[in-house]
């Protein structure tokens, strides 16, 4: 299967890539699927960082593939275990290919969405709106990967629904917090360009503060509020 055929299949029907996958398919498909994921995610990263210059683009293009890859790969054993506990047997090979195919599809969608994100960011959009646009774009392109992974869990079993919901919940939380740890993708205007910001608070507090700021509410609590182990450092 050449790269173009694989790309078409990943876009049109990623489930069919994983449906009959065995260990030979896994060994054969892993390199091109990884390349599609990294390439596509990096393009979205370039677009996200473009408004703050080439250095921020480079940083974002390096970090965004990590954001795509790290959460599903870290959660893979958990997804397998969830399915097992719920009485659904998912072959490891199938789960591996489904994960990589789903990520490759999201990577390709990210590449397609890059110009759509770049356009508003290049028009001097307000910073907080830019962040929300980035989060929304990432959410839209990441959903197909989650969907492909969930469909790799075969039908049947006593509690398939629980296995799928539990897996998606963990994957969603991991992705959100990994994105927060790897920020900034869209740099603050006039802020020094940095590869990573200090870890403070969590994604949910930040999104709340960001949404308030985007709506023009800049009260004293507009910054993410620290909690738990981060409380002392951020306050």
């Amino acid at each position: 299967m050449n790269a173009l055929t694989l790309t078409t299949q990943v876009l049109r029907d990623p489930d069919s890539v994983a449906a009959t996958a065995d260990r030979n398919d896994l060994a054969r498909l892993a390199p091109p699927l990884l390349a599609l994921t990294i390439g596509g995610a990096a393009m979205l990263g370039v677009a996200a960082g473009a408004s703050s210059g080439p250095l921020q683009s480079l940083f974002a293009a390096t970090k965004l593939p990590l954001l795509f890859l790290a959460p599903p790969l870290v959660a893979l054993p958990l997804v397998h275990a969830f399915a097992d506990v719920c009485g659904v047997a998912v072959p490891w090979s199938r789960l591996g290919v489904a994960t990589l195919a789903g990520l490759a599809r999201s990577g390709l969608l990210a590449a397609a969405a890059a110009p759509l994100l770049w356009l508003p960011l290049s028009l001097d959009t307000e910073y907080h709106l830019g962040v929300l646009a980035f989060v929304a774009t990432f959410g839209v392109v990441a959903l197909p990967a989650l969907s492909t992974i969930s469909r790799a869990v075969p039908l049947g079993g006593q509690q398939r629904f629980m296995a799928v919901v539990g897996s998606l919940l963990v994957l969603g939380l991991l992705t959100a917090q990994t994105g927060w740890v790897l920020r900034p993708f869209v740099a603050r205007p006039r802020a020094e360009v940095t590869f990573l910001r200090p870890v403070e608070s969590d994604i949910f507090s930040a999104l709340g503060a960001n949404t308030r700021s985007a709506a023009g509410d800049y009260r004293s609590d507009w910054q993410p509020s620290g909690s738990g182990v981060f409380r002392e450092r951020s306050e």
């Binding site: 896994l26 790969l73 870890v199």
Partner: protein
């Protein structure tokens, strides 16, 4: 331990495990690209480290499985004989056996379908029966010719003329290819 040290330690551990998995995959004979991929996505490639499940990777045996195995084992055993080994290369038998095994697996799949009374009762199943009979006939023919090849190997031992054996094996390879095309 500060956050950045912790992050670097975790990243180093991830890449370290990836290096280990990649090295094991390379030692197993996996392509270099696959081994390099393990550096990043090693959790997805862990199944490749497990020993292959021969039973799972082999197509399910069909109605001719025993005869196919027996026929090729006998032919290979004959070709090991020093007096006959010049007649043909045993490796030429591999694609023929593989094609026959796949054809046998397809016939077995059709048989399983036809076991369902609903499928068997469908008027269109007559065509399926006909196609199954045709495939089975082709497999029978190849098996019969394998016996003929063994007879000719005996003639090679006496007369030394290897040409008929090569011709027959060429014909069998063509028939095996035709079996694959029938399935497409």
């Amino acid at each position: 331990m500060s956050g950045s040290v912790l992050a670097l330690t975790l990243a180093g551990a991830w890449v370290g495990v990836g290096l280990g998995v990649g090295a094991l995959l390379a030692r197993q004979g996996q392509p270099l690209a696959t081994a390099a991929t393990a550096l990043v996505v090693w959790p997805a490639l862990l199944p490749l480290l497990a020993p292959p499940d021969e039973a799972a990777s082999r197509p399910a045996g069909g109605p001719f499985a025993e005869r196919i195995r027996g026929a090729f084992a006998a032919l290979r055993a004959a070709l090991v004989d020093p007096a006959l080994s010049a007649a043909a290369d045993a490796a030429t038998l591999d694609p023929i056996e593989a094609a026959l095994t796949r054809a046998d697996a397809r016939i077995a799949a059709v048989d399983r379908l036809l076991e369902d009374p609903a499928v068997a009762a469908d008027p269109a199943s007559a065509r399926l029966h006909q196609a199954r009979a045709h495939s089975a006939h082709e497999v029978e023919e190849v098996l019969r010719k394998l016996v003929t090849v063994r007879v000719q190997l005996g003639l090679v031992a006496l007369a030394g003329d290897t040409e008929p054996v090569r011709c027959h094996l060429g014909e069998l390879a063509a028939r095996a290819r035709a079996l694959e095309e029938l399935a497409c």
